[in-house]
Point group: C2
């Protein structure tokens, strides 16, 4: 740990405040994760990653920078990592998932802003997260009001490039997104000094597709009645996917899936029969936000799928690998990314279709629609989503929460009652 | 009034609930407006318009429909009225400004949505506003999360066309807005059955420019130390500009300006010397939201300018009238509309420039930055705006409010203290 302290110091971090964060995380992780029984052995890797979350990966990123490489920090599943990796740079997710960072964000942002944005801004401005210090350039997008405006404040502290995501999904909007990706490519090329050739881009498309396939394989295993892995564990893997080395992550996740395949053959299950299968839908759960999964899985339920950015939205749909020229590859990227159904689009009817399909595939007994407080997009769309689910005869519970623990007891009561209701 | 009841009934309105609204408006108007001393005689016209706000103009719109004309309802100063009028249709603003409609909106929208959006949706769904019943087609835009998603709910009840406003202001975004205007033109042509020729569009560009010039002339008069008209009265005029017949509105506003010119010559002022000159900036004040103006103007201050949608954003910058072909006219429209500095853009530094310029031109003693609750865009930008104003040495008060009266006393205390402070 001594080495990391030196690293953090060199990153200009506020060590004293950061120490407080380092003190609480292991306890939280132990409570939510290590208390589980019968965890797959393959989870050891992710346990290690998260145990040294501010050490191991940051050290790798700094090593990369020492060799002249650049690091790009991102906040959204619409930003194509492929472009970054094709320029021999590294993309790392930056979304903050801890209440620890929220007060720092509230110094400059309205209280009525979603906790994910407040935590992200706070982590940067308070200098309490190495990833936020390391990233040479941030990549923002125009997905929601809160982020769109937060870039202006973050941009005073760090170089930021903003991608204008269209707000609709007509043919011309997909073309417009391809143009934004081209502009992003030019920015990345200039910033890194490396040219993004068709060969390089082809490689990075494969690299990220392989990561998607590993996650898809992992999720596929959750469709079994005998469940080889808990929802909490899969959430952790999904969260780590955003910042781990993609090649290693893919390898470790496939190795875990091998173990889970064996579990299926052996009839091993982490849940007792009768445990209610819950699909979560809504806003993303950035690391270390494990609150709702923990409540569900200690209240007679198990999370079998997340229709979320930290979930299916991250890995569904592959980028077409058959295009051989940069322009065509960028078209393929635009088509794949515009397939994601985020509430930032108007309309976004595809999302309800997704949820209905996933509920069937994952044999969900009930759905919890979870909204981060002050996310107007998902909150408003929740009205249509919950109505659609009721029309389809699927039990649904709507929940609004933030990063504090103050509503944990109330949430537990509501979730327990919902799961209890599913038994009748 | 009997005639109007029949009209409202034929519009499918909820008469009983609407009666409650009709009962409270005259009292509110009397308290805020008729209590003023030394009002210009030219305000009689606007008094009349607002006294029969749900009668006179709605009857005209229905008359227009009986002759086969169409009515388009709009919610944003970026939507070009010129296109609508060029097709012999009528555009009318629909933004709701009364708490009366808010609970109706909250039935389907999150409570954490700005009152303007909740009121607008409530006015439609509760059938308590004739304008919302009359409009044949609504025109939405992607300016903020709240509106973007509200269209999906409104769209289940009424035909709606949505314009995708770019979120940035690069050269290509102005081009993209021109494309959106072209699409809108096609929609309007098809819906009305009328072709929008260069001649017709040229006429409507002049028509709306004349309205802008009249408002500009009115505002210009507010730059005088001896103030010929109150802020409240100008706010009312700005609000009526959104739905009155543009030709008549221009004529009546110019007639009022003639009277105000004479007042200037005669040294007539509606304020006593020493009254503090306040510039308001922030979110729009839809009719009948007169709350803040009333508080300022009964607390030792006077509002001399509104850097708002109901203010300078509505009329500043004319559309170039020299273009003679439709494509060029649409380019000119895009250029003019993209000149508006709304917080929905990232970044939006032009707005601070506007405020600094206006503060100087209108000789403001202080600025009140007013934000409608849950408008994340203006709230976040407010951080940068207020910091910029402080840096420029201009006193600024930040206020957040909604349509209820519950904070009126607290607001009065804060505004009074601010104005008192300006005296020292």
């Amino acid at each position: 740990m001594a080495d990391y302290r030196k690293m953090w110091e060199e990153l200009g971090m506020d060590l004293e405040t950061h120490d407080q964060l380092c003190e609480v995380l292991p306890q939280a992780f132990g409570d939510v994760y290590l208390s589980q029984e019968n965890r797959p052995e393959g989870m050891d890797y992710y346990n290690m990653v998260v145990a040294d979350i501010h050490g191991i990966r940051p050290a790798e990123l700094i090593e990369h920078q020492k060799k002249g490489g650049k690091v790009f920090g991102t906040f959204c599943v619409y930003v194509p990592d492929e472009i970054v990796f094709a320029a021999d740079a590294i993309a790392t997710g930056l979304c903050g998932g801890s209440q620890f960072w929220v007060p720092g964000g509230e110094k400059v942002l309205p209280t009525n802003t979603c906790p994910l944005i407040k935590a992200s801004v706070g982590a940067r401005l308070d200098r309490t997260c190495p990833f936020f210090r390391i990233a040479d350039m941030y990549v923002g997008e125009t997905t929601c009001d809160g982020k769109k405006k937060a870039w202006e404040i973050l941009g005073e502290d760090v170089p930021i490039h903003i991608m204008d995501l269209p707000q609709m999904k007509r043919e011309k909007d997909i073309k417009a997104w391809a143009e934004e990706i081209t502009t992003f490519k030019n920015v990345v090329e200039e910033f890194t000094g490396n040219q993004i050739t068709a060969e390089k881009l082809g490689e990075s498309i494969k690299l990220i597709n392989e990561k998607r396939k590993a996650l898809e394989r992992l999720y596929e295993l959750r469709k079994n009645e005998k469940l080889p892995i808990s929802g909490r564990d899969v959430l952790l893997i999904s969260q780590i996917a955003f910042y781990d080395d993609p090649k290693r992550f893919t390898k470790m996740t496939n190795a875990l899936c091998d173990e889970l395949d064996q579990r299926i053959k052996d009839g091993v299950s982490v849940i007792s029969s009768g445990t209610k299968r819950i699909l979560l839908t809504g806003t993303p759960l950035a690391i270390p936000n494990w609150k709702l999964h923990n409540i569900v899985e200690t209240s007679g339920g198990v999370v079998v799928c997340e229709e979320m950015c930290t979930g299916t939205r991250y890995f569904e749909h592959l980028v077409d690998e058959t295009r051989t020229e940069v322009a065509g590859q960028i078209e393929a990227l635009a088509e794949r990314y515009m397939n994601i159904n985020c509430a930032c689009f108007t309309p976004n009817t595809g999302r309800l279709d997704d949820i209905l399909r996933l509920a069937k595939e994952y044999k969900a007994d009930g759905i919890i629609d979870v909204n981060l407080k002050f996310c107007n997009l998902y909150d408003t769309e929740g009205y249509l989503v919950e109505r659609g689910l009721k029309d389809a005869g699927i039990p649904v519970l709507g929940i609004e929460t933030d990063y504090t623990d103050s509503d944990a007891q109330q949430l537990r009561t509501r979730v327990s009652a919902f799961i209890e209701m599913l038994n009748h």
